[in-house]
Symmetry: C2
Subunit: 281 residues, 2 copies
């Protein structure tokens, strides 16, 4: 597993770096970005927060716009931001190039349908291949947390709940909470997974929270002025399960905030502090 | 002077907003962005930091990438980010569309040469028209500071030193310190100002610092791993004048940092705190 370094920049005494590598799981070249806090070294490996971005994003959006590095440097947490789908020639896209399916919209699942299944295996990439790569090449330990935004919030919740031995804590900004009931999720699941809705439940945070014993602490932030709140995100569906099962889930609604990175930057330090409690425990 | 609101997003309990307006000085429509901290109100007008961006930027780069809002909210300082040149149909550009001249490269001066002089009047726009517009439409007081990056660092230094009654304090990241001696500056000055180099001195921070009684406190941050350091920026030329004249100028060199917004975000809070001392005094 070799890596090609594409860029590096010092930031808050740590380093932001972008890499390209061949992904066996996705059968294509992939790019990711990592922030290494100043204290990270081979003799002092640090924990990692995996950040999953939303529709249309690459590894760059969070790293450029989330204003996360000051707090990550202070807490000694690395951040890894993968891309949001397989990429490159030969990777199929939405027939009409829509933003909400195909390239930039991998939905963090393993596709089972043609022509998607050869490349669209983002679930395995995030859960298995990428952490192995990170742990082989960077001064990090095996402590991992997971977070994300919108489609990536869906990814963080579902991956985190299905792999509770792997992630100490889960958080999300504006997640698609119940994708099998909303347009973004239904379009993606129908194409990637087919018509059998029992397979959809494996990638639906509300259904997983109902079905699984959830012990992992979860923090969700949602802006009340988010244009997608009622039609696509539906945090009340997650809240209902969390309350019924009396889980350690905090869902915070923030008046006036929208779906943008301006919202994320306003609360990312609190998410990092939330994860630090468990990563460093 | 009417304004059209283009966007708004809540961030750190304050508001980021973009506006379009007709500029009489520039003879075109212009866009700018403003961050209003939460405490700003008609009964509590706040001071303003004007931020001048570098080559190729618009009003968006700083606002999305500089991570300035947490500190601005805490200190109660508004930030205004104008565009970097006149824009629109009929505004002439570099003949070959180069990034370092014409659109996105107004150099914060008043052009005297054809075909530039009709629109390229960024000096007057920043010094006069824009503050009048801001003070007429937003809950700000008349206290102003100025800062910027690269070409915008040149703008902040030159505008700040030529208008010391207007700005309490000046700061810059990676400024073009002595533009009349470097390729970026020479190309711009030759086209916008003509061949008479005595006119160039009016927009050259080193020459202005030599010629003027400079009382305004100045802070400059420069990354030592900046690709443009030796050929375009030359902070040592400014340092020499500041030392010879024993001025209140701090020039800090930062090992490992480059020319990007990752550098700016690492130190922007210190710039805001620097300006706050004088804006709030």
């Amino acid at each position: 597993m070799s890596l090609t370094n594409l860029s590096q920049a010092k930031v808050f005494e740590g380093w932001h770096k972008q890499y390209q590598h061949r992904s066996d799981v996705l059968s294509c070249d992939m790019r990711f970005a990592i922030y290494l806090p100043p204290e990270a070294s081979s003799t002092n490996p640090v924990p990692v927060l995996y950040w999953l971005s939303g529709l249309t994003c690459t590894d760059e959006n969070f790293m450029q716009k989330a204003a996360a590095f000051q707090k990550a440097a202070e807490l000694g947490i690395a951040i890894v931001a993968p891309d949001t789908s397989p990429r490159g020639e030969g990777v199929p896209d939405d027939a009409e190039g829509a933003y909400d399916f195909g390239l930039g919209a991998g939905f963090y699942l393993n596709a089972t349908q043609e022509p998607w299944k050869q490349h669209y295996q983002m679930y395995s990439y995030i859960v298995d291949e990428l952490p192995q790569l990170i742990e082989a090449h960077f001064p990090v330990n095996k402590q991992k947390a997971i977070s994300g935004h919108s489609m990536g919030g869906h990814g963080a919740l579902t991956i985190g709940m299905k792999n509770q031995d792997q992630y100490t804590s889960i958080s999300a900004f504006s997640p698609i909470c119940h994708p099998m009931t909303v347009p973004w999720g239904q379009k993606a699941f129908r194409h990637y997974l087919g018509e059998d809705k029992s397979t959809w439940e494996q990638y639906d945070a509300v259904e997983l929270m109902k079905a699984l014993p959830v012990k992992t602490p979860i923090l969700v932030d949602q802006g009340e002025a988010d244009n997608f709140l009622n039609d696509q995100l539906k945090p009340e569906t997650l809240q209902a399960v969390a309350e019924a099962k009396q889980l350690d889930v905090q869902i915070r609604l923030h008046p006036g905030y929208d779906h943008s990175y301006f919202f994320i930057q306003s609360f990312i330090s609190e998410h990092l502090a939330f994860h630090a409690q468990f990563l460093k425990a």
